[in-house]
Structure formats: C-alpha cells, structure tokens
C-alpha cells in the first residue's frame, strides 16, 4: 500500500512499477486444469433454447455460440465436455451465461490449436481486449491505432513484459494491423524503460511518464495526441482505436503461427505486493492459479480480478479468469480499508487528484441524493475516466468511484427509458 507522502499538498504520485530485468523472462505456466469456465454476454431469457447443451463435446479452439446465428462467440480453450450452463448477473447489471467444461484430453488440448481457415474469423475474443472484431470491421473510421505497451493499472506488468521480450512478434502484428485495418497511423505507447524495444516493432513510439493514470486511453489521447474525447463518447467514436500489446501479440500468433489464442497472461499480486507473471488457459479457475503459486486465502480476505485501482472483487476462488483479466490481486483481511458512511468534508483532495477536472466534491453530493441528470448536466459525471483516484485520496473514505459508476449506470438507464418512451 502506498501511503500519502509526508509532503502532501499536491496530486497523488503513484508510479507504475517497471518490470525488473532479472525477472523479465519468468512467466510461470499454469498447467491445463481439469475444469474451466467461460462466460459470454447473454441477451436471452432463462428458458430459451440454446444451441449448446450440457454433454456436448467441444474441442480446443472451437467457437461456442449461444445460438446458431449469433455474432458473438467464445472460443473453447480446452477439449472436453460441457458440464454446466448457468446464467448470472455481472458488473453494471449485465447478464452473462457461464459455460463450464470438463477437460477430457489434456494432451489434445495442448496441441489442437491451429486456425482452420481465415484467421480474422477467430479474432473476436483475443486475450487482452475482447472486441477486436468491431475494430477490424469498422474499416474506414479509425485513423489511428494506439497500442498500449504500458499497463493500465498499477503493479500489472503484462504489456510491458510483452513489449520487452516479444518485440519481434509484435512487429508482424503491427504489419497485419496496418494491412487489414487501413489505419493511417499505428502508435505504441510505452514507459521510458522499454522505448528501445518498442522502436523495433515498427510502430510510432511515444514515451509516457510512468505515473498513474497516464496509461488510460483518455489521458494518452490528451497527452500524446492533444485530443480530448468529448464527455460520454468513446475513443473509437473519434477515430482512435486502442489495443493492448497482448492483443497485438495474439494477432501475430494467429496470423503467422496460425495458433488460436487460448492463453491469457496475467500478473498475480500477492499479499506482500510482490508480483508474479503467469500464463494460463482462459477460463482457468482462480484457485488453480493461486494453488500453483502457493498463495493461501482465508475467509474475509479480498480477491480482486484486476489491479488495485480498477479491478473487480469476486467472492469466491472458484471464479474463472476471462479474456480481459489482466491481474489477480489478493489482499489480507488486515490490509482492507473499508469505506465509511461519513459525509463529504469538502477538503478538495479529490478535485486536485482528478485528471479529468471533474468537480468531485459537488458530484458526490448530488450522486448521494440520486440526482443523476443533474450530475451529468452540471457536474460533469460523463467526463470521468474511471481511474479511481478520487476514492484513493478521499479523507472521509467515501466510495466516490462506486457512486460514480452507479451514477453512470443509472443515467444510462434513464436515457434508454426516455428513448423507449419517446
């Protein structure tokens, strides 16, 4: 835990940790597990007939769709039998269908991975960022692709590690992107320590100061391109696509080596803040990974999918890692600082910490009273880039970030209701 500095009148200064050189090549392989769980966003009701059933045999690399003519799919990362299909509600009210698969043939799971036809058809769910397909579809509007060679959250080292060690492969990934998307510019954003490796990939390298939240897309756009994303719009809408270095590596492997990507690299952040990088099959349960690293968790600890600033907690070790799980963080009981019910004392720390200049002190007051439209209209709710620094510095321990995400969700709901009624 990084404490507030002794001299503390400025902004929080949370540095990204650079990957230590001696550790750089150590990526621990997690063996193929006996059971995996994949999840897929689910627009259907509980009782609807699906095209996949319990008992179906699946192969590594096989596309699984909920219905035959669905566009969205997920790639099975092992060879086995479907053991269960459940529906559940995830973050921000999204519904998912989880599909658990019992691995039958670990031997085959390891080998049967080659791409059967057009590689582009298998790029819908690449590790790192799931919606690459939309990026490839939308030929004309993207004029710049920015490859993030730095990791969004603190202590996570996946993209850095890939740029440091796999720049050769990234090079072919960059070439493929240039050919297939028609983007006029391909940039790579990295921390100062790996700029020389990044140069070798052929992308236009931009070095950023490794201080949180400089690696968030909106901040990169502001600092590197000088473009501010209009509040409430996404980077893609203004013609800029963001890809993690890990995605580019997966593209390269799919296109050049014709291997369907089924592995995910992630950083495990232990209770003492040391980190280990691991590679595991997508869908591997967290317990398998923690067991492989001899990390023991107890009742009342905290388990986070993602990093310390932006991750999501899960309540059980039996949750799987997904395509976008960049890190697993475990925290001991006594490291947990819970938020409080105190009111805002108007100290202004959040306002000074906010990289998007949102008037957080006023925003949190209107959000506490469910005034979502006022929050958007007058207090710049949609300008928030979701970095979590406001909660990090809050003297009163108000869950500011939580209020903001709830506010965004509720506002979106109000808007869609109005659209329906209009």
């Amino acid at each position: 835990m990084i404490k507030r500095p002794f001299f503390g009148s400025g902004k929080p200064n949370l540095k990204y940790s650079a990957v230590e050189v001696q550790k750089q090549d150590i990526v621990k392989e997690i063996p193929i597990p006996d059971k995996i769980t994949l999840s897929l966003e689910d627009p259907y009701g509980m009782d609807e007939e699906l095209s996949i059933r319990v008992g179906n045999k699946v192969k590594t690399g096989q596309k699984l769709k909920l219905k035959e003519d669905d566009k969205s799919y997920i790639i099975s990362s092992v060879t086995g039998t479907i053991a269960g299909i459940f529906q559940y509600d995830g973050y921000l009210g999204k519904t998912y269908r989880s599909i658990s698969i019992d691995t039958i043939d670990k031997e085959k799971s390891g080998t049967e991975r080659s791409v059967p036809g057009n590689a582009g058809e298998y790029l819908g769910h690449l590790p790192g960022k799931p919606d690459l397909a939309s990026l490839l579809d939308s030929r004309s509007i993207l004029n710049t692709i920015i490859i993030n060679g730095a990791d969004k959250d603190l202590l996570v080292g996946i993209n850095q590690l890939i740029v440091r060690t796999k720049f050769e492969n990234l090079k072919s990934g960059v070439e493929y992107l240039r050919d297939s998307t028609g983007a006029s510019k391909i940039m790579m954003v990295v921390g100062p320590d790996i700029s020389s490796q990044a140069e070798k990939t052929g992308a236009d390298v931009k070095v950023i100061k490794p201080v949180y939240p400089n690696t968030l897309p909106e901040i990169i756009m502001k600092n590197i391109l000088g473009v501010e994303v209009p509040a409430g719009r996404s980077c893609e809408e203004v013609g800029i696509g963001f890809l993690n270095a890990e995605v580019v590596l997966a593209i390269a492997e799919a296109v050049i080596d014709r291997q369907i990507p089924v592995n995910k690299m992630l950083t495990v952040i232990k209770k003492d803040y040391t980190t280990v990088n691991v590679r595991a099959r997508i869908g591997t349960h967290i317990k398998e990974i923690l067991d492989a690293l001899d990390i023991e968790m107890h009742h009342g600890d905290r388990l986070v999918l993602g990093g310390p600033m932006m991750g999501h907690t899960v309540y059980s070790e039996d949750m799987p890692i997904a395509w976008d799980t960049d890190a697993i963080m475990v925290q001991d009981k006594n490291q947990i600082i819970l938020s409080s019910e105190s009111e805002c004392i108007n100290c202004g720390e959040c306002v000074r910490a906010c990289p998007a200049k949102v008037p957080v002190n006023m925003l949190v007051r209107v959000l506490e009273n469910d005034l979502y439209e006022e929050a958007v209209g007058e207090y710049d709710l949609l300008s928030c880039i979701e970095c979590g620094l406001c909660s990090y510095v809050c003297t009163a321990h108000i869950p500011v970030f939580h209020y903001i995400m709830l506010g965004k969700y509720e506002f979106a709901r109000i808007e869609s209701m109005e659209e329906i009624n209009a």
């Binding site: 001299f7 994303v229 899960v314 070790e317 819970l338 108007n346």
Partner: protein, 322 residues
C-alpha cells in the same frame, strides 16, 4: 456451501492513501498546540481551564446531538475537539465557564450539527460562535478589561484596541519581535505568532490546510494595511503590526482554512483568502469592530459556494457548449 470461505466484496480502488478525518483533526490540534501551550504558560491555570472545558464541552455537545438526532456517534473523528480547542484559543484566559458552555453550544450545535454535521456547515462553526459572543457579550471579548488582573513585563494594552483609540502612534509601544513572541495581550492561543506560524507551516507542508488560502489571506492583510498606512501614516498602523496582532495569524492558518466553508478550486481559494484579508483590515481600520478577522472570514464563507463555481472545464467539455 456454508463452510465455503467467502471474500470481502467492494468497489475499486482497493488501495487508499491512509488519510482519515480523525488523522486530519489530530494534526490540526497538534499544530495548534505550540500556541495553546504558550497561552497556558502565560496565563496559568485559568487558561488550562478554558481550553480543557471548551474542548470537552464541544465534544459533549456533539455526542448529545448525535444521540438526539439518532445518527452515528462522530466524536471519534476529532472535529468537535478541534472546534472546542480553537474556540478556547480565541477566548481570554479569564472567560467565565458559562460563556464557554454557551459558545461551544453555538459552535457545535448551531454552527455545525443543525446543518447536518461535518462537511455540511456553510460557515466556520468557531467563527459563528465567537461572532455571537462578540455581539451578545461584547465585554467578554474586551481583552483590556478581561485581563486587567494580569501584570506581565510587557505592554498589556490590547494592541488593536490601542490603535483604534490612539492612532498609529500607539504602535510605538510594541515591537514586531515582542508581538511575534507573544508579548501581547489577547486570546489564549492567538497571541504567540511564532507558534501559530510554525503550526501553520507544518499544516501547509503536510497538505492538511491549503497554502493558497493562508498565504493570500496574509497577503491581503499586508497589502491593505500597507495602503492604509501609506495613505495616512498617523492614523493607520503598518502592515507588520496588523499581521501580528489580533486574530490574524490564527485566522489565516486555522480559521479561514476550515474545509467545509472554504473553496476547493485554485482560483476561488486565492480570491477567498485575499478578500478575507482585505475585509479584515477594512473592518479594523474603518469599521466599528476592534478586530475584523471574524466577520471578514464569515463574510467570505457566505461567498464560498458562489466562488467555487469558478472552476476549470472538465475533460471532454471543451468549447463546444460554451
């Protein structure tokens, strides 16, 4: 399922910089201690009595209000103790017990709790209370009368009263060094300039108070007093005299900086501090009151919500909606 271990769920972020309201309160009290201890050293047991009773009363009022309003007990956050301590520091050492009791009631109950507790008060509770006492029992804050039984080896006439009555010539009886070292009469914790400055610097460096407010307040006092002094050197005292007397220093570092009643954006903080400083000297020099700090800061407290509307454009809000 019952034996399964479950983990704590919460929203990101999972780190915190470990600041807290109570930590902040304790640091403010720590920074106020040099000046308070000096007051105790100078005035002895009566000063201890006032400070201790004031702090205790403020906390008890807070507790009573917590219970009456059926809200979580909040005396642990130390804010009531800060209010009590600062209120005591503004009083003369001989203040009677009932004025402390009433004053802390006004500060904690009327100044803070009825608005909804910490963070909801539009005015600085300490100043609300001291203003009520100034207006209701003027003689109790007349330091010449209240401290008449004390005899130290320095000029015991309250400096601001002397200047008000006799013009700038009265400043000859005080040297800047004496004023800085607390060789003047006044509130228990408001006279020891050096202690207040050390405490204020500590709070500014640690980030518990905003330097923008404190320094512009002092600058406002200095510049305004200087202009008055230049325009009529016989009538108006010099800027250094104004900086080191009355409630100027405790106002700059401990009263104007109160979180809830002061702005948070950069430019509003500068305006808030500067205008409070200017108003303080205006009230002292041409107003009816001997010391203007209390009403100057209260007036800027009222202006605070309006001032804080001056803020930078949020990201992505560019000039499109101008």
């Amino acid at each position: 399922m019952l034996n399964q271990k479950l983990f704590v769920g919460s929203h990101a972020p999972y780190w915190h910089d470990r600041t807290s309201i109570s930590g902040k309160s304790y640091h403010i009290m720590l920074a106020a201690l040099p000046a308070a201890v000096f007051g105790i050293y100078q005035y002895g047991m009566p000063a201890i009595g006032v400070l201790a009773f004031s702090t205790a009363c403020a906390m008890i009022w807070e507790l009573i209000m917590n219970i009456l309003m059926k809200r979580p007990v909040s005396i642990g956050d130390g804010n009531a103790a800060v209010i009590g301590l600062l209120f005591g520091m503004l009083l003369p050492a001989t203040a009677p017990w009932w004025v402390v009791l009433v004053g802390t009631f006004v500060a904690v109950v009327i100044g803070k709790q009825i608005f909804g507790g910490i963070g909801c008060n539009p005015l600085n509770p300490v100043l609300v209370s001291i203003a009520v006492i100034m207006l209701s029992w003027e003689s109790l804050l007349d330091f010449n009368a209240m401290l008449v039984n004390y005899d130290f080896d320095f000029n015991m006439i309250y400096p601001l009263a002397a200047v008000k009555g006799f013009g700038a010539s009265a400043t000859e009886n005080y040297t800047a060094c004496e004023l800085l070292m607390g060789q003047q009469s006044g509130g228990i914790g408001a006279t020891f300039g050096l202690g207040l400055i050390v405490g204020g610097l500590y709070l500014m460096v640690r980030g518990y108070i905003r330097w923008e407010i404190s320094l512009t307040f002092l600058a406002g006092v200095f510049v305004t007093a200087l202009l008055f002094n230049v325009s009529d050197p016989d009538k108006y005292a010099g800027p250094v005299f104004h900086l080191l007397t009355g409630y100027t220093l405790i106002g700059a570092f401990f009263l104007a900086t109160e979180d809830s009643s002061s702005p948070v954006n950069f430019i509003p903080m500068l305006i808030y501090g500067a205008f409070a400083g200017i108003l303080a000297v205006l009230i002292r020099n041409i107003g009816a009151f001997v010391d203007g700090v209390v009403f100057a800061i209260l007036m800027m407290n009222v202006a605070n919500p309006l001032l804080d509307k001056i803020r930078p454009k949020a990201m992505g809000k560019g000039t499109k909606h101008a």
